[in-house]
């Protein structure tokens, strides 16, 4: 169980958790419902990056309030995901463009 934490941390953490969960869910519903590969990669990369950011900020708030000290090591995952998600998206999009084109003779 989460121990009792003050309202100034619990209220933003609640809002950020709900927003992050909904964003990630909407992004992955777009993975199933959108017709084109480029539409799908757009919805998934946007939703995932913002959802990860929201959830990790909420986790930082809750950890700081529980231990009553500044806990920022979740910032490592945030920076890592924010830096690497665009790299993966760019390489995948280039691969899709190259594979959609007919091979040169």
């Amino acid at each position: 169980m989460i121990p009792q934490i003050p309202v100034w941390a619990a209220l933003p953490a609640t809002v950020l958790l709900i927003i992050g969960g909904l964003l990630t869910l909407v992004g992955s519903i777009g993975l199933l419902r959108l017709p084109n590969f480029f539409m799908r990669i757009h919805s998934v990369s946007m939703g995932n990056t913002l959802g990860v950011g929201c959830v990790l900020v909420a986790s930082m708030l809750i950890s700081s309030a529980v231990t009553e000290a500044l806990v920022i090591h979740e910032l490592l995952i945030t920076l890592f995901v924010v830096f690497t998600a665009p790299i993966t998206a760019i390489v995948l999009m280039q691969a899709a463009i190259r594979r959609a084109r007919p091979p040169r003779l």
């Binding site: 989460i2 950890s63 995952i77 993966t88 995948l92």
Partner: protein
């Protein structure tokens, strides 16, 4: 206020579980190879977030390190798969 926070952690974990189900369906259904790689990317990020919220719920810091490792190795896997689709080989000779 703590009950609301607890309920929101549950809600976020439910959302991530549904997103993982969607990603698994997309990975089985995807018509091309790059769709499957994209679904794998979604799957590991959602698994990482679920594990991180387990760490929040049980107030343990060990789950954070596991989530960090999942993020690192998932990035390596996705990047190498995408490079394979892009060039035909992972490491250039």
């Amino acid at each position: 206020m703590n009950d609301v926070l607890h309920a929101s952690v549950w809600f976020a974990q439910l959302c991530f579980a549904l997103a993982m189900v969607n990603a698994a369906i997309a990975m089985m259904r995807g018509p091309t190879a790059q769709d499957r790689v994209l679904a794998f990317d979604t799957l590991y990020i959602n698994g990482m977030l679920t594990l991180l919220l387990f760490g929040v719920r049980w107030t343990s810091f060990m789950h954070f390190e596991v989530a960090m490792l999942i993020a690192l190795f998932g990035f390596v896997g996705t990047a190498s798969l995408a490079m394979f689709l892009y060039r035909g080989e992972v490491i250039e000779p």
